[in-house]
């Protein structure tokens, strides 16, 4: 049986929706990478650029919502198409929030760059790399409709959570040892929390991909299923 729509325009609009989501995902991934770079390299100019570029992420959020609403109104989608479109609506919200977190990281970077470095950043870039990879893989899973990969993203979230706890403990010990460090340590702890939230959003995307492909929801489960 054919896998194309009888209505070619409908197919094209669905394709455009996928492409826009991917473009937004790529942009957001780059935002995080550069936000963390601006912190690690103490590059305030880069941080300013990234903050400015968040408008682009916001614009895509609005545009993609528009595409989804138009598809819903004009084509009365069903089944898989309906799940793709509703997933699109939710994914963009997560991506937009990730973009906001990148801005938050830049804001903390601008503040931290004004002060002497507390310690070299080691775990923060590690966290950022995992979180970025989770976003990329959740979107790969979206495009290729691979639930196994999506499930892997959900599992990887634990690594980011663990690193966040570790950084939290570490910053607390700095603050206890020397109250002069409280201001900086708090900010580093915040950055860690932002990255942890970013990974949570990537997990949300992966969960929605599983819903999109299988029609099954694995959200809010205490224990992840071994397979879907």
């Amino acid at each position: 049986m054919p896998n194309e729509h009888t209505d070619k325009r409908y197919d094209e609009e669905l394709k455009k929706l996928r492409e826009e989501i991917l473009y937004m995902g790529g942009l957001v991934e780059d935002q995080i990478q550069k936000a963390v770079k601006s912190l690690v390299d103490r590059d305030s100019a880069l941080a300013e650029i990234i903050i400015e570029r968040d408008h682009e992420v916001n614009r895509l959020d609005v545009d993609i919502d528009g595409i989804c609403i138009k598809l819903l109104a004009l084509h009365q989608p069903a089944a898989k198409d309906l799940r793709l479109i509703t997933t699109g609506l939710k994914i963009t919200t997560d991506l937009e929030r990730i973009g906001d977190m990148a801005v938050n990281i830049c804001e903390r970077a601008l503040e931290l760059n004004q002060e002497p470095m507390l310690k070299p950043y080691i775990d923060i870039p590690r966290m950022a790399r995992i979180a970025q990879k989770m976003i990329r893989e959740s979107l790969d899973a979206f495009v290729r409709e691979e639930t196994e990969l999506a499930l892997k993203v959900c599992r990887d979230d634990q690594q980011v959570d663990d690193l966040n706890s570790q950084i939290f403990r570490e910053t607390i010990s700095f603050m206890i040892a020397d109250p002069q460090t409280i201001n900086r340590a708090m900010k580093i702890s915040s950055v860690s929390k932002y990255l942890e939230r970013i990974a949570d959003h990537a997990t949300n995307i992966a969960e929605m991909v599983i819903f999109m492909v299988k029609g099954k929801s694995i959200r809010h489960m205490k224990v992840l299923p071994p397979a879907v």
Binding site: M1, P2, D7, A79, D81, L82, R83
Partner: protein
Amino acid sequence: MNSETYVMGNTFDNAEPIAAQKVSDAPNMSELVRMRVESLSVYYGKVAAVKKVDMSIKTRKVTALIGPSGCGKSTFLRCLNRMHELTPGARVEGKVLLDEQDLYGPGMDPVDVRRRVGMVFQKPNPFPNMSVRDNVIAGFKLNGVRDRRVLDEVVEKSLRDAALWQEVKDNLQKSGASLSGGQQQRLCIARALAVNPEVLLMDEPCSALDPIATAKIEELIHELKEQVTIAIVTHNMQQAARVSDFTGFFYLGELIEYGETGKLFTTPEVRQTEDYITGRFG
């Protein structure tokens, strides 16, 4: 007598089946099966139009049958009240049970079957040379009832149930053919309801109507399922999604998938269903 007492069925001899249900509202009513089809095949000459279909039609639910042209859904529907045997060369195998009674069993009167299982067609077909009133009671009068008061009550009740009363009550004597298309279709529904059927079959009842008239019929279907089990064939998938509780997808004479409408339109189990409802069918 008000219309409610009529529903309770104390007045007419032929009113018990619905009356019994209406009054004894068992908690698990949704699970009751009004019609059961077992291994039904239909042939036109040597060609099988419907192939070994099994289906349970639930009591006081709306069951929609969808599928591309020629998939056998209308043929299937017409077997549910033996309308099909009026087609020359048509042959039916298998069983159609109404309340566990085989409609094709020996001694079953097809006329009685069609009273218990009413039908509304694609094009409104009121009797053209009859008034609105006479159209409604045309079938009912065959029962031999002549009492004008009783007939008036049936006319009003049926027209009210078909959501047409307000529009025609001041001139029941005008010709049925003078009504608009949507009104004519509701008149046909009133005529079918007048004999108090257990099941109402609708074969694309809105395909000749404009969107407003369609919306009125759909609203009516929602109201009617309180008292009658409905099976509807429709080409309009959105309509199936809107009005039905259960949907069956037919393709090449087979029932490919049958289940709750909400599930079938969001997460169908079978690829062919998916392709059809998402418009990927050649």
